[in-house]
């Protein structure tokens, strides 16, 4: 028995060494490709800066959604597949709030009015998402808390499809186009680099919200309760933590972030439709896993890495832009092979998936 374990131990070490070498080889290959192909194209520096900025904005959106995934996963160990749809519904609600604000003429008013109106639109989007998130939790997930892990996943997939196609039926199949107010259309032009205002807002907001969330989790009583539930649900309950309430609050927090992301993405990309939450949702989940699911700074970092890779990757590797998703998913596969629990590991709880 002991010898067997020893051999197993030795084998594992060899395996680790082998994967490390393979990893280094792949990395070298990528760098070589970037130097010989990407840099040889002769793009100006401003081009790379522009692409990096595009990537950071994209990353900011992914981050807001990824934080919701990570929160829910960290506490319930379930993939809330419908989280992208929660974001999309925030965007749809924001669209109608914007229509209303435009109807009232708020968008042409002095800048303070416009800012307040934009905050109002954002609030509407967030409230809608929170309501949807809470309903989802109550109807589709809570009854399944004791079920095997696959069951809530299927339920979540069902909920995702249900939300998408209900939006299609209720609000129609045509995309909804956001009309940006003058205040936030356009952007800063620094030489050959252009920073759209919406992009800057997305990035800054996502960093602020991430910090706020990190503060809530690490420093508040609620955060302590959340971490306790993540660690061990039944012990937390014995210690006087209202587990149900904590889970509901978790969903509310995650959904509020998604709602904010939905509205901001609406202003940035100007189009929302029934399936516009699906791909960002998938990417955000990828980002959350990349950073180590359950880990809040990890989700933020993973999202930024993913966004940057998507924006810079094709040009740097000299691959057509159509392959940006291939690059993103390949990166995910590679990172998980070499770091099986993400770049930063799981932190919210140490429990094995």
């Amino acid at each position: 028995m002991a010898r067997h374990a020893e051999t197993a131990q030795k084998l594992r070490i060899d395996e680790q060494a082998a994967t490390r070498y393979i990893g280094i080889a792949i990395l070298a290959l990528i760098i070589w490709r970037v130097i010989t192909v990407g840099l040889a194209e002769g793009y100006p520096t401003s081009f790379w800066i522009s692409q990096a900025l595009n990537g950071m904005v994209l990353g900011g959106v992914y981050a807001l959604v990824a934080l919701g995934y990570t929160l829910v996963y960290g506490i319930l160990f379930m993939i809330n597949f419908a989280h992208g749809e929660v974001m999309m519904l925030g965007g749809i609600a924001g669209f109608f709030a914007l229509q209303f604000a435009q109807g009232q003429g708020w968008m042409e008013g002095p800048w303070l009015v416009v800012v307040v109106a934009l905050l109002f639109i954002m609030l509407i989007g967030m409230v809608t998402s929170v309501l949807i998130g809470m309903t989802l939790e109550r109807l589709a997930y809570r009854p399944l808390r004791q079920a095997p892990r696959l069951v809530p996943l299927i339920s979540a997939i069902g909920a995702s499809l249900f939300l998408q196609y209900s939006v299609l039926l209720i609000f129609g199949v045509s995309p909804h186009s956001y009309r940006k107010p003058a205040l936030i259309s356009g952007g800063l032009r620094l030489g050959n680099v252009f920073i759209p205002y919406t992009g800057a807002i997305i990035f800054i907001t996502s960093v602020l919200l991430m910090l706020a969330l990190y503060f809530i989790i690490q420093r508040t009583k609620l955060g302590r309760a959340m971490r306790a539930v993540a660690e061990d649900r039944s012990t937390a309950a014995l210690m006087g933590v209202d587990v149900d309430a904590v889970i509901v609050v978790t969903f509310m927090l995650g959904s509020a972030l998604a709602g904010a992301a939905g509205v901001m993405l609406g202003f940035h990309n100007t189009v929302v439709k029934f399936n516009s939450g699906f791909m960002p949702g998938l990417k955000a989940f990828t980002a959350a896993v990349l950073g180590g699911i359950g880990n809040i700074p990890g989700a933020m970092f993973g999202a930024l890495v993913l966004g940057l890779i998507e924006a810079i990757g094709p040009s740097a590797l000299g691959i057509p832009t159509e392959y940006k998703d291939v690059i993103a998913f390949t990166l995910l596969v590679l990172i998980l092979i070499f770091r099986p629990s993400g770049l930063f590991g799981e932190v919210l709880s140490e429990k094995k998936a």
Binding site: N54, V57, K180, T270, S315, T321
Partner: protein, 414 residues
């Protein structure tokens, strides 16, 4: 344990009763009774009282739902008109509308559905080229002829396919006219070409690229995006690095609008002109592009405008659907003509047998469509040639001014 399964089993018996109920309820689009179907192979036999069923593949979902709906409604008006005129030998026409979703996958599903339904005489559609490519092999094998109102990829019709017909004009024409316009009228030589990887968009983009090169222009980038993408900034930064004077986009409304809009923010593309195609000649394009649409160009494969007929059609359309046809999309006229064309061909070959059944020979119908000549449609004088090109009219170029399309060159203005 066993009792549980017995109960479940007995619930199945209840489900059977339910099945009976469902069976009683009339359901909208149904493959009807077998007595109406073929027993002689290669012939459709329609019993008296049954309808002449024409399949329709429309892009009701997917990237261009509004134009798809418009095309369906155009076809429905044609069916109404045919039936109001007494149908054919007392047999009424019926449209079996399916959602082709503008892609080959769904087009294939729709094709398989029509092929499995032996009462479908002919098909109008599909809306998009990719969707139609999905239909072709299946309808070819099932010997069901189709007439597409709006699939413009040049390869839709060919000498290999005797069931393939269309009243839309081929992109071979549109791509060349667009390239001529850009090179000669606008005087641009350095262009970038973007497409959406669909049969339609990519096909058109390739034709445009080839003709620009033939004229002596330079193509700085030839890039693809996916239908459904919304963030084109990375792509546009890449295109902008080469500083083109002009971007041509082959694809559909939403992507075209978003590219036009995001171009205004991309470094190196501040003064670049933008042009798209008939897939973008919609309200949806104007909505998606917003103010950035101003000054951009689109082209459209238009039919000749038979004004009196069109006014009558528009009135019927407005009355039936509560919207004016041009609000939804541009191809309603072609759609109307495509159904009328099919009906005209059926009229040539249909026979009433001794039992009062209407008999349509599939092979005869296939050749009858090709033989249609000088039929006066909404889009002009419809005449089919030997490969199935039945369209009339030419390519028009529009520029967006004050939130509306304004024709500046092309067919009807020379």
């Amino acid at each position: 344990m066993q009792t549980r399964f017995t109960t479940l089993g007995l619930l199945l018996v209840a489900a059977l009763a339910l099945a009976g109920c469902v069976g009683m309820a009339p359901v909208a689009s149904e493959p009807p009774a077998e007595e109406a179907a073929v027993d002689m192979s290669g012939k459709v036999v329609i019993a008296s009282g049954e309808k002449i069923r024409i399949g329709g593949s429309f892009a009701l979902t997917g990237p261009i739902p509004d134009p798809g709906k418009d095309i369906r409604q155009g076809a429905e008006i044609a069916i109404d008109d045919l039936n109001a005129a007494g149908g054919l030998e007392g047999f009424m026409f019926d449209l079996v509308a399916e959602d082709g979703a503008c892609d080959g996958t769904q087009g294939t599903n729709v094709g398989n559905k029509f092929a499995a339904d032996e009462t479908i005489v002919a098909v109008t559609g599909g809306t998009c080229s990719g969707e139609t490519f999905g239909l072709i092999p299946i309808l070819l094998e099932a010997r069901i002829p189709f007439v597409s109102p709006s699939a413009t990829n040049p390869d839709i019709t060919s000498s290999d396919c005797d069931v393939c017909n269309r009243v839309a004009l081929s992109d071979a024409l549109q791509g060349v006219v667009d390239a001529d316009f850009a090179f000669s009228d606008l005087g641009v030589t350095k262009v970038a070409v973007v497409h959406d990887n669909s049969d339609y968009g990519k096909g058109l983009a390739e034709i445009f690229q080839n003709h620009i090169l033939a004229l002596g222009g330079e193509v700085t980038n030839f890039e693809g995006v996916q239908v459904g993408d919304t963030d084109f900034r990375a792509l546009l930064a890449k295109v902008g690095a080469n500083g083109p004077e002009f971007i041509f986009f082959g694809g559909y409304s939403t992507e075209a609008g978003l590219i036009a809009q995001q171009m205004t923010e991309a470094p190196g593309l501040e003064n670049t002109l933008f042009m798209s195609d008939d897939g973008a000649y919609t309200r949806q394009y104007l909505d998606a592009a917003g103010e950035a649409a101003e000054g951009t160009y689109v082209s459209f494969v238009a039919g000749a405008d038979a004004e009196a007929m069109n006014a009558d059609f528009d009135a019927k359309y407005l009355d039936k659907y509560g919207v004016s046809p041009d609000d939804l999309g541009p191809f309603h006229g072609q759609s109307y003509d495509s159904v009328k064309l099919i009906a005209a061909a059926i009229k040539e070959v249909a026979l009433v047998d001794s039992g009062g059944n209407l008999v349509i020979d599939r092979e005869e119908l296939i050749s009858a469509i090709r033989a249609v000549e000088g039929f006066d449609g909404l889009t002009g004088m419809i005449k089919c040639d030997e490969v199935g090109e039945c369209g009339a009219g030419g390519v028009q170029i529009f520029q967006v001014e004050g939130g509306a399309f304004n024709q500046i060159a092309g067919f009807g203005r020379e």
